[in-house]
Symmetry: C2
Subunit: 602 residues, 2 copies
Amino acid sequence: MSMRTHYCGLVTEALLGQTVSLCGWVHRRRDHGGVIFIDLRDREGLVQVVCDPDRPEVFKAAESVRNEFCLRITGLVRNRPEGTTNANLNSGKIEVLAQQLEVLNPSVTPPFQLDDDHLSETTRLTHRVLDLRRPQMQNNLRLRYKVTMEVRKFLDANGFIDIETPMLTKSTPEGARDYLVPSRVNAGNFFALPQSPQLFKQLLMVANFDRYYQITKCFRDEDLRADRQPEFTQIDCETSFMNEQEIRDLFEGMIRGTFKNVLDVELPNPFPVMQYSEAMGLYGSDKPDMRVKLQFTELTDVMKDVDFKVFSAAATMEGGRVVGLRVPGGGAMPRSEIDAYTQFVAIYGAKGLAYIKVNERAKGRDGLQSPIVKNIHDAALNAILEKTGAQDGDLIFFGADKAKVVNDAIGALRVKIGHSDFGKKNGLFEETWKPLWVVDFPMFEYDEEGGRYVAAHHPFTAPKDGHEDLLETDPGKAVAKAYDMVLNGWELGGGSVRIHRADVQSKVFRALKIDAEEAQLKFGFLLDALQYGAPPHGGLAFGLDRIVTMMTGAESIRDVIAFPKTQRAQCLLTHAPSEVDEKQLRELHIRLRNVEPAVKAS
Amino acid sequence: MSMRTHYCGLVTEALLGQTVSLCGWVHRRRDHGGVIFIDLRDREGLVQVVCDPDRPEVFKAAESVRNEFCLRITGLVRNRPEGTTNANLNSGKIEVLAQQLEVLNPSVTPPFQLDDDHLSETTRLTHRVLDLRRPQMQNNLRLRYKVTMEVRKFLDANGFIDIETPMLTKSTPEGARDYLVPSRVNAGNFFALPQSPQLFKQLLMVANFDRYYQITKCFRDEDLRADRQPEFTQIDCETSFMNEQEIRDLFEGMIRGTFKNVLDVELPNPFPVMQYSEAMGLYGSDKPDMRVKLQFTELTDVMKDVDFKVFSAAATMEGGRVVGLRVPGGGAMPRSEIDAYTQFVAIYGAKGLAYIKVNERAKGRDGLQSPIVKNIHDAALNAILEKTGAQDGDLIFFGADKAKVVNDAIGALRVKIGHSDFGKKNGLFEETWKPLWVVDFPMFEYDEEGGRYVAAHHPFTAPKDGHEDLLETDPGKAVAKAYDMVLNGWELGGGSVRIHRADVQSKVFRALKIDAEEAQLKFGFLLDALQYGAPPHGGLAFGLDRIVTMMTGAESIRDVIAFPKTQRAQCLLTHAPSEVDEKQLRELHIRLRNVEPAVKAS
């Protein structure tokens, strides 16, 4: 006989008069008028169970149960008495009159109430199993599953094949730091856990699988920020014989369909497409949050000869930039808020935050309120007003520094103001989904410290048609067939058309100052594969954790991962990582270095 | 414009008269009567492309192409000339008259012909990308994908949710050897890669997810046998509130449906169920190949007092066993074959292979031909003939030794004879699919060396109802709610109902001589979780690599894995594992031990 006939949360008036068997946990127990009410919970929801004294055995058992006891109940589905129905519950019109009550497993008193919304993350991660019983976490992980199934269905329908790539692979110290795995059989050698299946998926294209995907774990041993985990999950895709536009269209359709089918949200069709240069120009970011209705105004040329040194120095230095950020209605912003923003931009390296309040534009210089106005000549002032389009009552913030500092600081300020109460009250923020593609990334970024170019995306990204020669003559100008999908200021995913010709790949390695020997050592298997008629191919990878975090509105990606690590890369539940036996280390041909005797004697 | 309008292998007479654009590889190029024929290949198959001299540009390009060049061809679909159709090809009735031919990428001469069936595995794994282009490997990996999608659909329809468990987890040196990952942030500590998600899936049941699955990589650092890989893939499932029978029925349905939908094979419904004791008794194996129509005959009691010491000693020793294996028609087996079998069983530790040929049963002792008959008294001889049911012309092999040696040796002999030409000719082998469940495994096996019981399945397996007390009084007699699904002599998967009560779990740990402190250290998080109303739960895990190997008829699991490791745990394509920089080791707080300077200077 089956333990259960129905899920608790799915018992409705359709089952009136029937006897059901339910299994679940005591969510709440109330004694009321000589009768015991148990809210029994399973993954589908709650149902009210009534234990009355007419059945002494059941009643006695019910008296003994406490929260989180695991029960099996058999009983009769009946209408709740008039006036006691609960519209918030699927099962709110009925109750189950218990005829049998079996305690499948008792519970000690939980360390917290499951409906406590003010738990510290440490408490939640330490008692993760109980934390996962909470409806929010149940929803998060079920939505995560729905997303992956939608993605799989879409990719399947489009001819993509899930092919597993190795987890124990080769260390190629480029980009992030690898997690290493010592080899026992091959003494002194190490596997690396994959930072992504990038090269393997390219090899699968060369191997004629045509369309590949994988929802797979990737690993980066980096110091963790709020939205990072040592292991994270990518929706990794690659296709042959499609151009950039076709690839973008296809995967835009995947994301649009997923939002529609999982959240019933209609994303715009098509997504806007923005060049990298425009994104940096107008928003100081390659993942602009388009919900925020504020833009940069380029003022570098205007500021070259003003007396205000901060501006003129930035405007004339190599790689400097001056921008204005017009805040409509910002004239009403109190001084304290402006001061707070000044402190905020300092986080991003800005040395100050100049501003102009436009009180009466018609009055010219006299209508402006600002400590800096006196050092800016009329032509520049006029240009500021004209280019920003500032109106009476507006405020203009300025950023002037190296371009990176300006972009980071004023880009962050733009978002901060947009999301502020002020921004929301003044229509500077639209609460909606604003996806876009950012395209035409540069091939390379110049690494001042290393004195060389580094790949902006990764070294396997194809240059735009006609940009092959620039790889050798002027790498900084070469534009890549690379694209990022951005949603509300987050990068959901990114990818590129790849290099499919060995000669172009070699040019890129040369531009990156990777010599032939090093290239062969690290990427010989790729260069080799490209020689055998590698097809034109490209693809992209989405960050699943991030997509689900956005879709659930979770505060952290840790809330959409069943057993995440802390920012110290620890699992508070299992206490991983941990010490290991000396015998294990010996078998792996390694020993600890400069560490207090942290291993147990074997 | 799209690079391609159709897959090569899908161009059929339905497209007659249309212009198509195809992308693919030159499978063969033939010059014939002044015309060039190219068999163009993509993942869906071949199509014949005709390049005639009327189009000089196309013809000239076609002259330059060689095998494995990657081409884009635009042309007209037309009927093949009478008498030149190819019934083996989907596209065999048509050909494409090339109007444009673009070399997307040339190819150097491949190191082998793709249709060469006699490649060494080393060659294949070294040039894996080309090896994967071969139709057999394409089929294997596509079938693998089909299996996983069938499984996902089935599990989805049955309410199972895919939940990811950690790859960086805790080392619990029990069972196989862990792969370790040194922690950079937590000096001197190590993660382990999971041998299976066993404990996490149990925690997910305690956390009320009710039904979980995951198709996931598992890792065991063991010396590799033919059918093992350091990383392998499990279909891992767990459910709450279902009993053993329900669990078996459900997953039997999954496998039956998968075979039906992927291979169009009808597996029996229901699968036969066999007790572990019967499997060992009749076949000497807990995964008997039921295609082989041979069984053991238990003769231990019969042989206790015979003069033949090999038999009587085995029959009277603690843990000894004597069995007969009747081979119908085996009397015709030449002496050379019997000698070969004698050598074969020696591999399994058997010190010899006694046999009796039954020439004329009616003549009693005189009708038997055997070196051992003279030392076996009449009662025993009669019992042998009666119990084995041997007929004239049969042969009986004997195994006599410790039970393990007898089971291994005669079990293997049974399979060997069944699969031999002799076996197949004599109806001892049925070429079909023979699945079964093996159930009622013992909880524990006695480890002579360690002088203690070890878990036969794993320490989280529940005992049969009523066997809880045996855990303390007579652990060797306790039977587990454990089950294996076996197909044609391979274990496809196995699982158990788990212990859901902390007190029972503690009893099992005690039976395994794991004291409370050690249990807390290693499995504290599980014991803790069991206290909070853990539900009755159970599940199983299937070996995906093995299932697909069987379904494809591949010779090795390496043939159903895109990028496998060799038996030395190396990837011949990428040369993993490899040396790493001294800097990387330093960051991980480890150094090499007793290894020649295998690290490069940083």
